[in-house]
Subunit: 404 residues, 2 copies
């Protein structure tokens, strides 16, 4: 990378906009604050050619401190990775203050990486800082595929960290640490319930302890991205400060027994109309017993198929354009038939007969009778002995005759 890489479009050298400053034990090239002042006289890190936010010093110190504590309790923290490094001050401090041997720092911005290299030389640790200049997830996946075990991964994005969780968790070595910072606290606290649901998959109604909810939504999200990769989290630190929440967790390989134990740690809080907490329900309680009416979900309740497409698919298959087995074609016809009925479940006739202690009626009789009564009714490709209908269960039950 030549010098041109750090020259702005207007011909100024980016280096002219930087100065040497200090954070912790690290010297760094940071933006000259006076060049990037907002009208209210406050430094705006987003305007500078490389990203360095001095107000996040405590956040980075807590990364260093968590690592030191982790070492104290007998764990090695030899390697560190930050997929969104900016000036990579975090990597420098991990090496200078937490005895990390190797720091892998990535940023998609080539300016940042140029300055990161310069910073490493400035502190005489250029051999310990390995820099990458690519997409954050590509960086973590590439490290993972190289088989380099990373003892501590730190994600500190602008906004939500959700995009980086899967690959970061996968990258972490046995008993390693993950630090995650989220600045989308409005969403996490449930200020915009629809946004909380679409981003994090959680219901967050009005409540009087929303900052803790923010932390627990994020922890639940870490749990989810860990669990489907057969890993579990063990929280070390939860720290809500200013406009962010930072969470440090230990990540461990998990047996299904271990994940099962952790399900005591996931659940719901019931709140009253004032937003005060009433009681909690753990997933373990919800799954554990089968006595009463139970809830299944969350599920997709909307349409699961598209009639026009299905008709076209069947037509194309009949015209012999594409090979399809007779069985699959026949099944596809049923798929089309049931596609007209937007009921998110089917009714199993033998089960209803058993409960009613009645005979099982002929499926065609049931379908025709329901249709004659004005209901939609069809077979289902999911199960030969079941029907789909928009008729209520009682209506279907009334068609069963009792055993004589």
């Amino acid at each position: 990378m030549g010098n041109h890489a750090i020259t702005s479009n207007d011909g100024w050298s980016v280096i002219d906009e930087l100065e040497i400053t200090r954070e912790g034990k690290a010297y760094i090239l940071a933006p000259r604050k006076e060049l990037f002042m907002r009208p209210d006289g406050i430094f705006e890190p987003a305007w500078a050619p490389i990203f360095y936010n001095p107000t996040m010093m405590d956040n980075r110190s807590l990364t260093v401190l968590s690592s030191l504590a982790h070492s104290y309790f007998g764990n090695k923290v030899k390697s560190f990775a930050e997929p969104l490094a900016g000036s990579c001050v975090r990597s420098l401090r991990m090496i200078l203050e937490a005895n990390t041997q190797e720091a892998y720092a990535n940023d998609i911005d080539p300016y940042s990486i140029y300055v990161c290299r310069a910073n490493a030389r400035l502190n005489n640790i250029a051999d310990k800082v390995i820099v990458f200049n690519t997409d954050a997830n590509l960086f973590t996946l590439q490290l993972d595929n190289l088989g380099i075990p990373i003892d501590f991964v730190d994600i500190d994005p602008y906004g939500t960290p959700i995009y980086y969780l899967q690959s970061s968790i996968k990258l972490i070595a046995k008993n390693g640490l993950l630090s995650v910072t989220a600045t989308d606290v409005g969403t996490l606290e449930g200020k915009y319930p629809y946004k909380a649901f679409s981003r994090y998959g959680v219901l967050v109604t009005k409540n009087s302890f929303s900052k803790e909810v923010a932390a627990r939504v994020l922890l639940y999200t870490l749990f989810r991205f860990s669990a489907f990769q057969d890993r579990v989290i063990e929280p070390i630190l939860t720290f809500y400060d200013k406009h962010y929440v930072k969470i440090v967790v230990k990540v461990e390989k998990a047996s299904s027994t271990k994940i099962r134990e952790l399900e005591r740690n996931v659940g719901y809080i019931v709140v009253d109309s004032n937003g005060l907490p009433i009681h909690t329900i753990s997933v373990d309680e919800l799954i554990g017993t089968h006595e009463d009416n139970k809830v299944i979900g969350p599920l997709w309740l909307g349409p699961i198929c598209n009639q026009s497409y299905l008709e076209k698919i069947i037509e194309l298959s009949l015209n012999k354009h594409v090979d399809l087995s007779k069985e699959a074609l026949s099944k596809l016809r049923t798929v089309l038939e049931e596609c007209r009925i937007n009921t998110p479940y089917y009714l199993n006739l033998p089960l209803i007969a058993k409960i009613l202690k009645a005979n099982i009626p002929k499926i065609n009789y049931v379908l025709e009778t329901l249709r004659n009564k004005g209901f939609l009714a069809s077979r289902t490709h999911f199960d030969l002995l079941s029907i789909k209908t928009n008729a209520p269960l009682e209506e279907v039950s009334s068609l069963f005759s009792f055993r004589s």
Copy 2:
């Protein structure tokens, strides 16, 4: 790649174990079935040097048919990608039968990729099949970073497809298609409720329509991985056959309004003790009203911190090993204090006072009185005017004096 790459350890050439067969309009090198027979006389594709399962022909035909229907309705399907290609018969058929211009086929197994190249030459379409030999997620992320728009992505793994969803959904071009096949139907149907929860984050209790539940859990999962990437799904085809469920969806860029609309399509089904469906509750209904007691979650309800680590972190910071602001240190002391109390929420004193129409008591008075009564009680770093305690709300309320 030399010939040695397709020679087995025992010196046999892998080519000797293959023969030319046909599926749809494609000729392919496939394993010689008679060499890989199970004792019961059934061909076992997993034993062959490259993976080709003839019983999944219908699955692949439905990919071709969905693509043709998609074109018929005015959409271009110029490019196709399969991250887990095996012999890449799917890519060949998309080119030969669905007029796809370019197929990007990836497999981590070099034998598969060798045979895939040979298959492309055999059908005289070597210029249209671009092969990769890497990790499936690295493949999709690399394509995405190259800026190559992919109109149709097909994921057909052994087991759950969940690991591949985030990057595949991100890769799909505007109004493109995604086909996902899952063979972990036992888990999706709720045969192992804890596994369903840890892998998919859903509660699946005993029910009488489990095959549809399997499809809807998978669709919900596609919805989740789309929604946090600002995309929505529109189901085209749901097909449950033999030991798999295949789902084809259109993937669209989404405004938050559009995602919000879709929340009508996500929710819960209440079942009775027989596993029969009683009624459904959509997330839209759950979020939309605030009249009664409401549920927040799923949340992490377990510990959010580790006392030993916190004590060490504070000690290290005091010993001046690591810079930390006075404010952060003071906050950290509160974090340690509240860490002793495993209540997943805090109580806001001004809110309780307002509801009781009472005066707000001094926070230290409340804490001391609760402790004297044998409860745990502390301030919380989340909120200056709130407390954490294991005392019930009524106990705390009793400490408020009414306004005179």
